[in-house]
């Protein structure tokens, strides 16, 4: 690379020296500085009209070989050598290695992502999620159920399950709101709140985001371990998918403890949560751990996956509360109505009864 750059700059120098032969130096040195780029014809035009007019103006006769400080030009020279094309790295006599990056044009791409793309991605995903629950609510309405006449209930989630769920849920809400504030706050909230109040809020939000993240990570890991055996996909789930889960047809497709849609939410939360955890921890570490381009990728992944998870959880919250009557009991009280369970998760009830038939015991309590 050095060799090439060296040669390139020398050959440009040589071309320029040739030019000097045809035109006296004082003309060059005292040529008035162009007032503005608009006042000066573009280089391409000079090329066609011949060198005479160009030299009179103190401009190099061959503009394409004229030395200029255009970054593209410098990058082109660098690309012929060993320097990575995405940035210019040198040596710096400071212990902070990230300072050795002289120019990183990737920043432009990331800026576009941050200012525009990420907001569109979040807006579209959240919009789609809200739209789909509206469609569900309007087309299907609330999914009611007849309670069991004898009032029998069946245990669905142990206290430890509910603890882990609500730990993850509350931390997710905090993380989502503080995270969305980073994406949209400057556009939506700052004009209302004013600089000082908005900045203070965002500062506390960032702190909350960073600390709540650990609770969320714990919850995700606990869920991954505790619920994985009930969330493995089986043949019945394929039937559920083929019929679209009966979401719009109002039919109840036989399901295990979790239906295929719930399993999707589980895997979305666990896998998405793991990605969020890894990228989140990386963003909390000093920037030098990954370099600036690594950090751009980490931030981009964190933002996009966050949008996907928020959209997923909007659907989850709807179906777990208003959308399906009786389902909120599962996480609020831990047990559900037996008839509700037979309607929505018949295979699960069969399994429990099959196991307990010998003892003739009630399913729960």
């Amino acid at each position: 690379m050095t060799r090439m750059r060296h040669l390139a700059s020398r050959s440009r120098g040589f071309a320029f020296a040739l030019a000097l032969l045809f035109s006296p130096l004082p003309v060059f040195a005292q040529a008035p500085a162009p007032q503005s780029p608009a006042a000066q014809p573009p280089a391409a035009q000079n090329q066609g009209t011949g060198s005479n007019a160009a030299t009179d103006r103190g401009v190099h006769p061959n503009p394409s070989r004229m030395p200029n400080a255009s970054e593209d030009e410098l990058m082109r020279v660098l690309r012929q050598g060993q320097m990575p094309p995405d940035k210019v790295v040198g040596n710096v006599y400071l212990p902070d290695r990230k300072l050795a990056v002289l120019v990183q044009p990737e920043g432009r791409t990331w800026r576009d992502f941050r200012v525009s793309t990420s907001r569109w991605v979040h807006g579209i995903l959240i919009g789609l999620a809200v739209l789909s629950i509206l469609v569900l609510a309007l087309v299907r309405g609330r999914d009611g159920y007849r309670p069991d006449p004898e009032g029998r209930r069946v245990l669905r989630f142990r206290p430890v399950d509910r603890f882990v769920h609500w730990l993850t849920a509350v931390s997710f809400i905090v993380l989502a709101l503080t995270g969305l504030n980073i994406v949209f706050g400057r556009v939506l909230l700052q004009p209302w709140l004013g600089d000082a109040a908005f900045s203070a809020m965002t500062q506390w939000g960032l702190l909350a985001h960073n600390f709540t993240g650990y609770a969320f990570m714990f919850g995700i890991l606990a869920m991954a371990v505790m619920w994985v055996q009930d969330n493995l996909f089986h043949r019945v789930d394929w039937t559920w998918f083929k019929r679209g889960g009966g979401l719009l047809t109002k039919e109840h497709i036989p399901a295990e403890k979790f239906n295929a849609g719930q399993k999707l939410i589980y895997w979305g939360a666990v896998l998405g949560g793991l990605v969020m955890a890894i990228t989140g921890v990386l963003m909390m570490l000093p920037i030098s751990s990954l370099g600036v381009n690594g950090m751009q990728w980490v931030q981009g992944i964190h933002t996009v996956v966050a949008g996907l998870m928020v959209a997923l959880i909007i659907g989850h919250i709807y179906l777990g509360t208003w959308g399906v009557a009786g389902s909120f009991d599962a996480m609020a009280r831990g047990d559900v109505d037996l008839h509700w369970a037979r309607t929505h998760h018949p295979l699960w009830i069969e399994r429990i009864y099959g196991r307990r038939r010998d003892r003739r015991a009630e399913p729960a309590e």
Binding site: N68, N91, D96
Partner: protein, 218 residues
């Protein structure tokens, strides 16, 4: 006042680090923070170049654009300043900056980022008050004393130029024409979207339509 800019002539920089040292000294910048640094390309090889790099006070500054709390402002001279009262230390400006200018002190033992620090073009803080508190946060306001940034004043070979964009571009043009080669004004066109060499304008007017969202009144 005119649009002020930085220009580092890599053909002249001898990597003496006087700009780095005098900047740290003038503004009493804490350990671990470097508002300016000298990067050497192809160190020890033919064609070695050194460039003194700091915040270039870009036209249409990326840092200001990506900031979640919009803590940046650009003065009518084109100087990009940020408010440490508003900054939350998220690190986004560092991801966007082409020159790696934003720096973050370690705020805790977990190395979390404190409020961002960067070159102020020796213009003090954004609120334009010359108090001890402002000095502690942003450093000396040399512009208010009628002086240029100390890094450029201290440069032993006058590789680093600061001042009116058109004036320093003219000086640089004359150098390039005299020596007949060398387009080594690294970062100029990325930052200012024009060229300091004879083909470009090197305009001294700060384009009002490219001002960042919050501009300090002239």
């Amino acid at each position: 006042m005119a649009r002020v800019k930085f220009l580092c002539d890599a053909e002249r920089c001898i990597e003496c680090n006087a700009c780095v040292t005098i900047c740290k000294n003038e503004h009493e910048i804490p350990w671990g923070i470097n508002r300016r640094r000298v990067v050497t390309l192809s160190d020890g090889l033919p064609g070695e170049r050194s460039v003194s790099m700091a915040c270039m006070h870009c036209t249409d500054a990326p840092c200001a654009s990506v900031c979640p709390v919009d803590c940046f402002l650009q003065t009518s001279d084109g100087i990009v300043l940020h408010s440490k009262e508003l900054c939350i230390g998220c690190g986004y400006c560092f991801y966007a900056c082409p020159f790696g200018a934003p720096q973050y002190p370690k705020a805790t033992n977990f190395s979390s980022r404190g409020k961002m620090d960067k070159c102020t073009y020796c213009a003090g803080g954004p609120d334009n008050v010359n108090t001890p508190e402002s000095y502690a946060l942003y450093g000396r306001n040399r512009l208010a004393e009628g002086k240029l940034p100390f890094c450029a004043e201290a440069c032993s070979t006058k590789a680093l130029l600061a001042g009116d964009g058109e004036m320093i571009a003219t000086i640089y043009r004359e150098r390039v024409l005299r020596r007949g080669y060398g387009s080594e004004a690294w970062g100029w066109s990325t930052a200012y979207r024009d060229s300091p060499t004879p083909l470009g304008g090197g305009n001294s007017v700060f384009p009002q339509d490219l001002r960042t969202e919050t501009g300090r009144p002239a």
